[in-house]
């Protein structure tokens, strides 16, 4: 699809980046939570 510059989906890209960062933070948070209750060594 040919798009004019003002038609590019910039907003969706930002929303997806927010989604991706949320995903990463929640993933790390859960690993941290796991490491605190399941001590190794």
């Amino acid at each position: 699809m040919d798009l004019k510059p003002e038609e590019h989906p910039k907003g969706s890209f930002i929303l997806i980046m927010i989604f991706f960062i949320t995903f990463s933070l929640f993933y790390l948070l859960n690993w941290k939570y796991l490491s605190e209750i399941w001590l190794v060594g």
Binding site: P9, F13, L15, F19, F23, Y27, N30, L34, I37
Partner: protein, 504 residues
């Protein structure tokens, strides 16, 4: 092909085969009846898990939990999916429905099977919950009901594929299958895999319950059951994403930026999504740790990749469509100027957010082999799947219903202002409900438990006030969501009975 079998929709221009239309109507109405039953029962369950209310006694709690699972996870959704399959084949392709009598057989088998299961549960003959884990044993008619339902659904998929063949043969469309139909085809393929697993597990279990087979292996049962139990939710995912594209087109005229990529994502679902079912077995002894890690840490992410593609493609298509209408200022003017008062559009957005942010993120994380050990069997899990199946799939199905009513039932929706409020009540309530549930689960509150403190058990567990607060929020938001669900059912029925006729 005689012309009296068709009418042309004045809004969409679709040529609608009358036999397909009748089947769509019956399946859609029946699905809403099951939604109503499951919703009422679900409300009583939320008010029981809210410890300050604790509405039901233990016997009825587990009975209603069984009914809630079957009515919502299976009956409401699969009946609606049958309507979607017939719509995505016969209506979208302007074709006649292949073998409508098989469609009626599908409907009757699913209706009899669903009713049989509900009666067995309500009469106390199947207090085995949705999973019916062996060696819990229900009355053999309960398993027969599930088998009949599954066979009926397989027949629906057969009619769908046969209609694709008919449409191709009779040249009712040109070029490739439309994306919505392609997505529905992906859902139907996953459905056949899923329902076959259901038949493989439930036929011997039925014979075992009837006393013909002496023993069922509980580990094998769990393995095969989840081939049915979780994969059935993957049918929902594919069907829901198809409806996202349809809603984006119907509400703002969106066109996917790159159809090939979207189609590839659906193929990824077909190839990889069913193996995600194995995360239910992560604490079982059967598989090795390496197998579980490969499955949930690597292969499953190929299906997650598909969801990521759709998660960008749907909002991007919507954004481009709105920008083409002139809403080009800054990064988010299109979002501000979007048709938020249209229940189809708000349902689409709430469904994408509920499914993606809440359900998707938590699903991938809780399904990871290592992390699963701190989430397994606590309230985090139902919190996750209420986000995917209810805030995601159900919300999307409700959204498309506002278009199905004028298109397939030829009635204008009554009380449109109330209809535009409905997604916010239902979607907002369910998102809060799921979040509160996951929060309580983070503190170790068990799922499927009437007595979470172990009052009558050998030892007691005391949770802090934060858990009481979470469960209260869960209960209150459950009431809000139930109100949204009740408005949906009320408006759907009122539209069918009193809605102004749309001329075709």
């Amino acid at each position: 092909m005689s012309s009296w079998n068709y009418r042309t929709c004045p809004t969409t221009g679709f040529k609608v085969h009358n036999k397909a239309e009748t089947l769509i109507q019956f399946n859609a109405v029946t699905s809403i009846v099951f939604l109503l039953v499951g919703g009422i029962v679900g409300l009583t369950l939320a008010l029981t898990r809210w410890q300050a209310v604790h509405l039901l006694n233990d016997e009825w709690f587990y009975r209603f939990l069984s009914l809630h699972g079957i009515a919502m996870l299976v009956a409401w959704i699969v009946f609606f999916e049958m309507a979607v399959l017939y719509f995505a084949s016969a209506v979208i392709l302007n074709s006649r429905l292949a073998a409508p009598w098989v469609g009626w057989l599908q409907y009757l088998l699913m209706l009899v099977g669903g009713a049989l299961v509900a009666v067995m549960i309500l009469t106390g003959n199947a207090d085995v919950m949705f999973t019916s884990y062996v060696p819990l044993k229900a009355h053999h008619l309960y398993y027969l009901g599930i088998i009949l339902f599954a066979v009926g659904a397989i027949l629906g998929c057969v009619v769908f594929f046969a209609t694709l063949v008919v449409a191709k043969h009779e040249k009712t469309y040109t070029g490739s299958l439309p994306l919505v139909t392609f997505g529905a085809a992906a859902a139907a393929i996953i459905a056949i895999i899923t329902l076959s697993a259901g038949a493989i597990v439930f036929i011997p279990t039925w014979l075992w319950a009837a006393g013909i087979i002496p023993v069922m292996d509980s580990e094998v049962y769990r393995l095969l059951f989840w081939g049915f139990g979780h994969s059935s939710q993957q049918i929902n995912v594919a069907a829901m994403v198809s409806i996202w594209y349809l809603l984006a087109t119907l509400t703002v005229g969106a066109v996917p930026l790159n159809e090939k990529v979207c189609r590839t994502a659906f193929v990824l679902y077909i190839l990889f999504i069913c193996i995600a079912s194995e995360h239910h077995l992560l604490v079982d002894p059967g598989f090795s740790a390496a197998h579980k890690t490969w499955n949930t840490g690597y292969f499953m992410h190929l299906a997650v990749l598909a969801s990521m593609i759709h998660a960008f493609s749907v909002p991007a298509a919507t954004e481009v469509a709105l920008r083409k209408q002139g809403h080009t200022r800054g990064a988010f003017e299109w979002l501000k100027k979007a048709p938020w008062g249209n229940p189809g559009f708000s349902s689409l957005v709430l469904s994408v957010v509920g499914f993606g942010f809440l359900g998707g993120i938590t699903g991938v994380i809780y399904g990871t082999e290592q992390i699963n050990i701190i989430a397994h069997n606590n309230l985090r899990i139902p919190g996750h799947f209420h986000a995917t199946v209810v805030a995601g799939t159900t919300m999307a199905f409700m959204g498309i219903t506002w278009y199905m009513l004028p298109l397939m039932f030829r009635r204008q929706v009554v009380a449109p202002k109330l209809a535009s409020l409905q997604p916010w009540l239902f979607g907002g309530g369910m998102m809060m409900f799921s979040t509160a549930m996951m929060f309580a689960g983070g503190f170790g509150v068990s799922r499927r438990s009437w007595d979470m403190n172990g009052v009558d058990g050998p030892f007691q567990v005391n949770f802090g006030p934060i858990v009481d607060l979470s469960l209260a929020v869960m209960g209150i938001s459950g009431v809000v969501a139930a109100l949204g669900g009740a408005i949906f059912c009320l408006l759907a029925v009122a539209t069918l009975l009193f809605g102004k006729k749309v001329n075709a």
